[in-house]
């Protein structure tokens, strides 16, 4: 039981990473996740040797896309038969299958050779925070998110909103529907409606 043997084992073993996709761009996240799946962060990396890690992606339902991309970004598919072409906007695909966007993005970010399917089998995507215990028990570390998760207005307390610096005060006659000092939460809900 030489020490070298366990060091070797440690070098070649696969690490399990966790990635929280909440409010993250799926395309830019996919570049990073694909790197971890291929083992590009390891000193022993080689394009032809399978030294990649596992990645568990959670909250894939809550990914974020900039501008009008939910509407304008489309996924196209052809069945191979005549008139078999179809084009689905991102919002529709995401509403049908909330893990598909990340999977497709990661798949297209990896080099197209035989190891790609193997790498993809080490990607575990879950739409919410519920992950089976046999999967989450393997995880040991977390991949840093690429975007800062924004804080929504209803997550601020009334004091924080009050303390926010203002350039000017509204005149008393000015009617503001949404913001009220008495019931900030109710007003925000009203704004949503």
């Amino acid at each position: 039981m030489a020490h070298n043997r366990v060091v070797q084992w440690s070098t070649m073993s696969r690490i399990w990473w966790l990635y929280d996709a909440k409010y993250q761009c799926p395309f830019r996240s996919a570049r990073i996740i694909a790197g971890y799946l291929q083992g590009q962060h390891k000193p022993i990396y080689h394009a032809l040797s399978d030294v990649g890690d596992h990645v568990v992606v959670i909250n894939s339902r809550h990914i974020a896309m900039r501008e009008e991309l939910w509407r304008t970004f489309t996924f196209s598919y052809h069945t191979g038969y005549a008139k078999g072409f179809s084009r689905t906007p991102a919002w529709r695909l995401h509403s049908m299958e909330p893990t598909m966007m990340i999977e497709k993005a990661v798949y297209s970010n990896m080099p197209g050779f035989l190891l790609r399917r193997k790498y993809m089998r080490r990607l575990h995507i879950y739409p919410d925070e519920e992950v089976p215990p046999e999967i989450i028990g393997n995880v040991c570390d977390q991949i840093q998110q690429i975007q800062k998760v924004p804080k929504r207005l209803d997550e601020y307390t009334a004091e924080e909103i009050q303390a926010f610096p203002k350039l000017f005060d509204w005149s008393e006659e000015y009617v503001i529907e949404n913001i009220s000092a008495d019931k900030p939460k109710d007003t925000v809900k009203a704004a949503k409606k």
């Binding site: 366990v6 073993s13 399990w16 570390d141």
Partner: protein, 354 residues
């Protein structure tokens, strides 16, 4: 090519073929339409190979069998190659093996000569002397390099260097093989080992013991290159020894902690275990299971305490070690003794608490 017979010589085209074959390397522009790819050449070569495989390889012969051999000159050259000044008589004795003496006696009996050969003329005594010298200086050198290593570890490294394979190969590489006077050629491994040890004793007798020590260190210690010296000592219970060592040094008993783990439910599970004493990390190691990782971490902690860890400085060369002023009898602390002491104190402490 086979030697041409007289009837071949009378045929002009065969003569031409011979000359073409002989000079074809240089005269490529020579006009020879059929002769360069002789049809008789491949069968001839095939026949040669067949005969060779049938007869088998040539037996290994001593260089003296080839004619040009001066034993005295070779002996002298042996010493000069190694940069040592040998006493010729001692060196000559160091190369005479027991089997050679027996063979000589038998031959003399056959011829009818009654002169006796003294038994002391073979290298047995010298080799025993040399063995002691090797052990003494190797251990002293290792103790100087690893002052904190346990005596058992030092002995294990020394034992590894004293194995038959290593001594025989070192002897072979310094050119002992052809000089041994033995019944067999090539001589057996045991004869090589005995002769190498006798040569060490011859260095000590011709010059000084320290010189022999430096000789031993220079030729044997490089055999440790690429070897894990910590694995030579087979340690059954590293954790027990570690707690004994820590107690003897007045430190807190070891605590093993799981640093991180991954893939626990997969077949490639990995655990990193660290061992702490007084809230200080003294050793850490990975492993497939917790027990393996803990055992290896204890070994790592021992390595760190013995200062024989992987990041240790390289061995000092023999010229930088003061072999003259070394205390050859002084030994490093013994692990067995420490374990006994610790277990005794443990039981006495238990009695006191009762």
């Amino acid at each position: 090519m086979a030697a041409p017979l007289l009837r071949h010589l009378s045929r002009t085209n065969v003569i031409a073929r011979r000359t073409v074959l002989a000079f074809s390397k240089h005269n490529n522009d020579m006009q020879c339409r059929y002769l360069r790819n002789s049809k008789s050449l491949p069968p001839y070569l095939k026949e040669q190979v067949e005969r060779r495989t049938k007869v088998g390889p040539e037996p290994k012969r001593h260089p003296s069998a080839f004619g040009c051999w001066n034993y005295d000159a070779e002996l002298f050259a042996f010493g000069k190659r190694l940069g040592e000044d040998f006493d010729v008589d001692i060196l000559r004795e160091a190369f005479i093996s027991r089997s050679y003496i027996e063979m000589e006696i038998e031959e003399r009996k056959k011829v009818g000569v009654k002169t006796q050969i003294p038994d002391t003329s073979c290298n047995e005594e010298l080799s025993i002397e040399g063995k002691q010298l090797i052990q003494k200086y190797l251990k002293a050198y290792l103790r100087f390099n690893f002052p904190y290593m346990f005596e058992e570890g030092i002995c294990a490294i020394c034992e590894y260097l004293m194995t038959t394979e290593i001594l025989a190969s070192v002897g072979k590489l310094i050119g002992v093989r052809d000089l041994i006077q033995s019944k067999h050629y090539p001589p057996t491994d045991e004869e090589m080992v005995d002769t190498f040890m006798a040569v060490v004793a011859a260095v000590a007798k011709s010059q000084t013991e320290e010189r022999a020590g430096a000789f031993v260190v220079d030729f044997l210690v490089p055999r440790l290159v690429g070897k894990d010296i910590n694995e030579m000592w087979k340690l059954d219970n590293p954790m027990g020894l570690l707690s004994a060592v820590l107690q003897s040094r007045g430190m807190a008993s070891p605590e093993s902690r799981l640093l991180w783990q991954t893939g626990c439910s997969s077949i490639m599970s990995l655990y990193h275990v660290g061992i702490y004493s007084d809230k200080e990390l003294i050793g850490r190691s990975p492993g497939e299971t917790l027990t393996i990782a803990e055992k290896q971490a204890a070994k790592e902690a021992l390595k760190n305490l013995m200062k024989s860890d992987d990041s240790r400085p390289p061995f000092l060369s023999s010229s930088k070690v003061p072999l003259k002023s070394l205390d050859l009898e002084k030994k490093n602390p013994s692990a067995d003794l420490l374990l006994k002491l610790y277990s005794q104190s443990d039981t006495s402490a238990q009695r006191a608490t009762k």
